[in-house]
Symmetry: C2
Subunit: 190 residues, 2 copies
């Protein structure tokens, strides 16, 4: 997606430790006009798949999920990172290792919101090692739902998570794949 | 907002401890068509205020913020609940007591995303005691930004947080105000 790649080149910042900061337009401050175009692009990429729900993990995936679901005209369900007084039903549960946070955490999704009748699009802002996507695949598997696609705004291709998912047979579409960012020079995959 | 009130009456569930569950359409599964109407309603209520940013706290406020910002055509900034490797700049910081989670937590917002030039709309899904809104008011005050409105999807009027904010002079607009829900019978304020 050219609009996104241009924005990454102008506004993303590369930090040591293979971190890319897109907090100015994707995942802390959100350029909602750009996110709306991202949602339209995912609609175009996945609209033949008869998707019934868009799922993600809180927090930064929610914006991507909402704008994508708006154009696909289906509900969003987001997995939650911690239990609160406000969870009362039976839940699907899985463990995710966060690259950014450097620790494991449990994510839950109430069973009433995902079933074997669902055809799922998993979306997120960043795909690095793919742990968040693996967690959502695990939850979708517990529900018996079919995952018909995985949509990612920015894939850090050099960390391998996206290609592992493709090798496992998933239809992964990333709007920008970064194959290297050594010394701060971002190189996209064609 | 009649569409919202009807949906609350049909799909919300009241639990002991003054908890209302709207996880089927607002804050776990999200009915994106309804959320889009909510965003349009906030645009109508606040569009004369020359808003420059919509702010909220992760996670369940993000959907409200995104669909509102889409119609106001301004960016979203969401305060984050924990520090990660991906925060590197100077931050505004405040402490919020969560009614739902039963504990205090720190929220942060990077300084580069909020300034004294900003005219802020604070939004969230639920207003109970108003602690989340107070936290965002604190952060806005640290930035020197002007808070021109507070938009809430569902206000639990009987917990008093909304009226405290109104008494303090804030322009609080709630799309549905619940004045009581004793024995599960939801009564809206006119």
């Amino acid at each position: 997606m050219e609009l996104l790649k241009k924005r990454i080149l102008s506004d993303a910042r590369v930090k040591s430790g293979n971190i890319i900061k897109v907090d100015g337009f994707i995942n802390h401050q959100i350029d909602i006009a750009l996110m709306n175009e991202i949602g339209k692009e995912f609609k175009t990429l996945f609209e033949g798949e008869h998707i019934t729900k868009v799922i993600t993990i809180e927090a930064s995936g929610i914006a991507v999920a909402c704008l994508t679901a708006l154009h696909l005209d289906v509900p969003v369900v987001f997995a939650k990172k911690s239990e609160s007084k406000n969870i009362d039903g039976e839940v699907y549960k899985t463990t995710v290792t966060s690259f950014t946070r450097g620790r494991d955490y449990t994510v839950i999704l109430e069973k009433r919101h995902l079933s074997a009748d669902d055809r799922i699009l998993i979306v997120d802002d960043i795909l690095a090692t793919g742990k968040a996507q693996q967690g959502l695949l695990d939850i979708s598997g517990q529900a018996g739902a079919e995952v018909v696609g995985i949509g990612v705004v920015i894939e850090k291709g050099f960390q391998g998570g996206g290609d592992q998912l493709r090798d496992a047979g998933y239809n992964v579409k990333s709007l920008a794949i970064i194959d290297s960012m050594e010394e701060g020079a971002i190189v996209f995959r064609d």
